[in-house]
Amino acid sequence: MSYSFLIPLQVFGLGFVISLFMAVLIKIMLFAIRKFSNTPAADKNELH
């Protein structure tokens, strides 16, 4: 496949994976912080 199509596909694919990974990271981080500190339970109002 031509680089003209391959490059944007790679960029979008990598961007998508990293973004979703960051979203997962945020969830885990918030869970961990609240688990090991005295702040209220994890946020439940995410739309999913």
Binding site: I7, P8, G15, S19, M29, P40, L47
Partner: protein, 401 residues
């Protein structure tokens, strides 16, 4: 002696090639028009007023340098030889700012630091999946424009830089242009800032075209609401910054600038926050506008690729807007219609303009619907996803060249 020899700004018009002379007059007029449109707030005044002044002044103030060679004493962006640069630094009054702040991307980083200071990532941390999903769809223009740009004759670096206009983030376009398309960074950045100024006026029409009124009026119901603490935001900033710097060292200055801005805000360092916001951000924005204007010297900017850049820039922002709305629709259906698809436009990361556009359009359709917090989440995510895509482009393209 010819009387016109005294008034060299005029006599150079007759000494230069007629195309350049005509283009100079056009740019002087355009500069004055930009000042007018900026003062009327039709275009972004913070950028457009200094840019318009710079543009008209540099094209009027052309003089004979040596013999029949013409030029200005504002700036010489093409100088590369060290000795010549040392001479120019002592003559051209804006050369120090260009050399020490522009050509190394420092100005983009300072603007990005300022954006970090004024950004509340609480919205993003509250709705991470929704925000990230919308923001990624709003990057559609950033990737879809690339093959079109290469088909129109741009090389990979230039295509990546112009495609990033769809990310709607001025500092990113500037940074990518400097890294990948140095010869075209002036026109690409100017096109980007011109179009970004127009998003506030153009995107409402796109929203009304693609989303029927009853959907624009939709309300979003949430059952519980927890505040995100400063400690949580700070921890996220540290982790995300470290992770992204590990992944894309080439874009590490951008990541550092953005996340350190967030860290300053969330650490309660008010004096730093005020310094960065009022001093750095506005100072850098002023010089960014002025430098972009001054760099629009007719003989420098007259490039056959200008028209291509104008078309591609608009196309990229248009596709990103459509992509954002598609993302909004996907979340709308995924959440069993408990979402407002207008929020999708906020994924285009023109902070906070597109979020304000989304709220304004929703409010017009239903004055009881309040979506700004979701829109801000998507908006801030848009900044992060654009930074990620910038990192991927800047890393990937040199490997292929």
């Amino acid at each position: 002696m010819n009387i016109l020899d005294i008034f060299q700004g005029i006599s150079t018009l007759f000494a230069q090639d007629y195309k350049i002379a005509l283009f100079r007059i056009f740019l002087v007029t355009l500069g004055i028009l930009l000042v007018y449109l900026g003062s009327k707030e039709i275009l972004e005044p913070l950028i457009m007023i200094p840019m318009g002044f710079g543009m008209s002044a540099v094209n009027a103030g052309v003089l004979f340098l040596t013999g029949s060679t013409t030029g200005t004493i504002f700036i010489d962006p093409m100088v590369s030889d060290t000795n010549a640069l040392m001479n120019i630094l002592q003559i051209d009054f804006l050369q120090p700012i260009y050399t020490f702040m522009f050509s190394n991307g420092l100005i983009a980083c300072i603007v990005f630091m300022g954006i970090g200071v004024i950004t509340d990532i609480g919205f993003l941390l509250r709705y991470p999946f929704t925000s990230m999903l919308i923001a990624m769809f709003a990057e559609l223009g950033t990737v879809a424009t690339f093959p079109i740009a290469t088909a129109m004759g741009l090389n990979y670096g230039e295509a990546a830089a112009v495609s990033l206009i769809g990310g709607a983030d001025g500092p990113m376009v500037l940074y990518t242009s400097l890294m990948l398309a140095k010869d075209l960074f002036v026109p690409i950045t100017i096109v980007a800032y011109l179009y970004l100024s127009l998003t506030y006026g153009g995107y409402p029409y796109l929203i009304r075209l693609l989303i029927p009124k009853h959907l624009r009026a939709a309300t979003v119901k949430t059952s519980k609401f927890h505040n995100i603490s400063s400690k949580e935001k700070l921890i996220f900033a540290v982790i995300a910054n470290t992770l992204l710097c590990f992944l894309f060292p080439v874009a590490a200055p951008l990541f550092l600038s953005f996340f350190i801005g967030i860290a300053v805000r969330e650490s309660g360092l008010d004096r730093y926050a005020k310094l960065i916001e009022n001093g750095f951000l506005y100072g850098a924005t002023f010089f960014l506008g002025l430098m972009l204007g001054v760099l629009c010297e007719a003989s420098t900017i007259l490039n056959p690729k200008i028209l291509t850049l104008l078309i591609l820039g608009m196309l990229s922002l248009l596709i990103s807007g459509i992509g954002g709305i598609i993302g909004g629709y996907i979340v709308y259906f995924a959440n069993r219609k408990n979402f407002n698809p207008v929020i999708g436009i906020a994924g285009v990361s023109c902070v906070p303009t597109t979020a304000k556009v989304a709220q304004k359009e929703v409010h017009k359709a239903n004055k009881y619907s309040y979506v700004l917090q979701y829109a801000m989440g998507a908006n801030i995510c848009g900044v992060i996803t654009t930074a990620i895509l910038t990192g991927v482009y800047v890393t990937l393209i040199p490997l292929i060249k």
